[in-house]
């Protein structure tokens, strides 16, 4: 075979390699273009957030823009001690309690709903449509509806009552959709094996399904917590007299023009990151343990 023939024979193979993300060899030009786009996106995603974290550590002369004026924790102290910034401590407290409640209910109810959707049942399409409707309905419209409903029934709105329900109408459809994705990877053969070995339905759930789906349930918990912790539109008309944290931030964006707003941003983001880190860490740990167990046998 001549060199020319060889080159001709190799050309299609090379073209193919280029087309389907090659594992070896040169990168196509689009790789560099899209890598640039991706880098740009990540910088734009994190850059502004990092700016306000840095700006929140200014001293008393600090303003809303760069350059940095001094370095201190002044605005964090200001945030929790000044009357002008509202009851931030109380709002934190309520938001975290509410998020924990929402998380627990979301995990349990989403899990049960996803179990139901594994088989067809009469009315399943109606339930599915209601869920999608609840997900896409404008939050403020739903909030007004819940507020008016409670009003008509003579029940006071409160963060642990009406706001809890309004938030669940948003976190549950999300949780169920995530559960669908998790369940689609569940192999029914494990369940059948357990049944063949004489397990009761409750034992199958407790000893087979829940342990296998555990990482997915942690993911649902992560969604439940963070969606509730940052929820604004549905809570606005339903929280009653006591604010949650996002409502506090909202009133601050309208009234407060000092870096204490940024300090609040830094504090709430730290809490979010702790939650995300814990959840992702738990998932990785579970997967690793599982891998080790399989490897050991």
């Amino acid at each position: 075979m001549s060199a020319a023939q060889q080159a001709a024979a190799l050309a299609p193979a090379r073209a193919k390699q280029r087309a389907i993300s090659p594992s070896r060899g040169g990168r196509p030009w689009t790789f560099y273009l899209l890598a640039t786009l991706f880098t740009f996106y990540v910088v734009a995603l994190y850059g502004p957030m990092i700016c306000i974290y840095i700006l929140s550590f200014q001293d008393v002369r600090g303003g809303l823009v760069f350059p940095m004026k001094g370095l201190s924790l002044h605005w964090f102290v200001d945030l929790f001690t000044q009357v002008r910034t509202g009851d931030v401590k109380g709002a934190f407290d309520r938001s975290i309690k509410l998020a924990i409640l929402v998380t627990i209910i979301t995990v349990v109810v989403s899990f049960m709903a996803a179990m139901a959707f594994r088989r067809r049942f009469p009315g399943d399409n109606v339930v599915f449509s209601l869920m999608i409707g609840s997900l896409v309905a404008p939050g403020l419209v739903l909030g007004i509806g819940v507020g008016l409903l409670f009003n008509a029934l003579g029940i006071d709105t409160s963060w642990y009552g009406s706001a809890l329900g309004a938030q669940l109408s948003w976190t549950l459809p999300f949780g169920v959709l995530v559960m669908f994705a998790v369940m689609s990877r569940f192999n029914p053969a494990w369940e059948e094996a357990a049944r063949d070995l004489g397990a009761t339905p409750w034992q199958i759930i407790r000893l087979v399904i829940i342990p296998v789906l555990a990482p997915g349930l942690v993911a649902v918990a992560l969604f439940g917590f963070t969606l509730s912790y940052d929820e604004f539109a549905r809570t606005l008309q339903t929280a009653g007299p006591q604010n949650t944290l996002p409502l506090e931030i909202w009133s601050m964006t309208l009234n407060v023009t000092s870096p204490s707003l940024y300090a609040l941003g830094t504090v709430t983001t730290i809490i979010s990151f702790i939650i995300i880190g814990t959840a992702l860490g738990a998932i990785v740990l579970m997967q690793k343990r599982r891998g080790a167990r399989v490897g050991g046998h």
């Binding site: 049960m112 896409v136 404008p138 007004i144 109408s169 941003g265 992702l280």
Partner: protein, 287 residues
């Protein structure tokens, strides 16, 4: 088993319904009912049946302007999030060779989703402001001689904030459907002599359709149902549909707010069901 199958299904689904009925179905019905009531002017409702609220909403020029503004922001945000989301997902699925690296990069994109939207929005202020980073950088290198004022408290800032918040809603579903494309289909196309552009046009785009549809539903319904970003980032110069009925509520005009809410919800549902006609989401998600 002693219990019948449908009963088991209903038992499992009942907790979900116990939330959806009082906190989604009933509130929507209450809004519907309130929209035909009259107000006593002090926040109370007078039970009656009137279509005056709808007449006011549908015939006012203000409504037309509000929808024009809101639809403008929705279309712009949808366009930019789609372009960004599609190419980022394409990059992660088809260009990153190491699957672990791809998942890592994917997580980097998703982490901000789990933090506060409001904080992410206000974080643009120190960048885009009159004395912000972008203006001072441009002034220093001499590209401009006066600070650009269109950067903050403008339509531009609104779109930037929306794209910043919502691109993730495009990336995740499109990534999901692209990751499911069988690489052998792409190989077969290459063997049959398809160019990379053909592969994109004839394989990748059609097979990502469900992800694109799902992402579009999220982005469009969030932008149309939002008032916060428009209010803060436009500095009050742009209004939005939801913002207008929020104003109505603060002056206790519940019936007109309710009528406006019903109109918006109907438009939103029509849009979503139109998108849903192109794909069967339930099949896409559950399989």
């Amino acid at each position: 088993m002693t219990v019948s199958r449908p009963l088991v299904g209903w038992l499992y689904i009942s907790p979900l319904m116990l939330v959806l009925i009082p906190f989604f179905v009933l509130p929507i019905l209450v809004v519907l009912v309130a929209s035909v009531f009259e107000t006593d002017g002090f926040g109370g409702l007078i039970p009656t049946f009137t279509l005056a609220n709808y007449r006011n909403v549908l015939t006012s020029a203000l409504t037309f302007n509000l929808y024009y503004e809101t639809v403008k922001f929705t279309v712009l945000t949808w366009f930019f999030t789609l372009i960004l989301g599609f190419f980022i997902a394409y990059f992660l699925v088809f260009h990153v060779r190491n699957p672990l690296l791809a998942i890592g990069l994917f997580l980097i994109c998703t982490v901000p989703f789990w933090t506060s939207n409001i904080i992410r929005m206000i974080s643009w202020i120190p960048l885009l402001g009159k004395e912000g980073l972008i203006n001072s950088a441009l002034l220093r290198i001499g590209l401009i001689h006066e600070p650009l004022t269109f950067l903050l408290y403008s339509s531009f800032a609104v779109v930037v904030a929306y794209v910043h918040q919502l691109t993730i809603f495009m990336i995740v579903p499109i990534f999901n459907s692209m990751a499911r494309i069988d690489k052998r289909v792409v190989e077969a196309a290459v063997d049959a002599g398809a160019s990379r552009f053909d592969i994109m046009r004839l394989i990748v785009v059609p097979l990502s359709k469900s992800g694109i549809a799902l992402g579009s539903i999220f982005v469009a319904s969030i932008v149309m149902g939002d008032f916060f970003v428009t209010k803060v980032m436009s500095g009050g110069s742009s209004a939005s549909v939801v913002g207008a009925f929020y104003e109505d509520i603060s002056v206790l005009q519940y019936p007109s707010a309710a009528a406006s809410a019903v109109v918006l919800t109907v438009i939103l549902l029509a849009m979503v069901s139109l998108i849903l006609r192109t794909v069967d989401i339930r099949k896409e998600i559950t399989q």
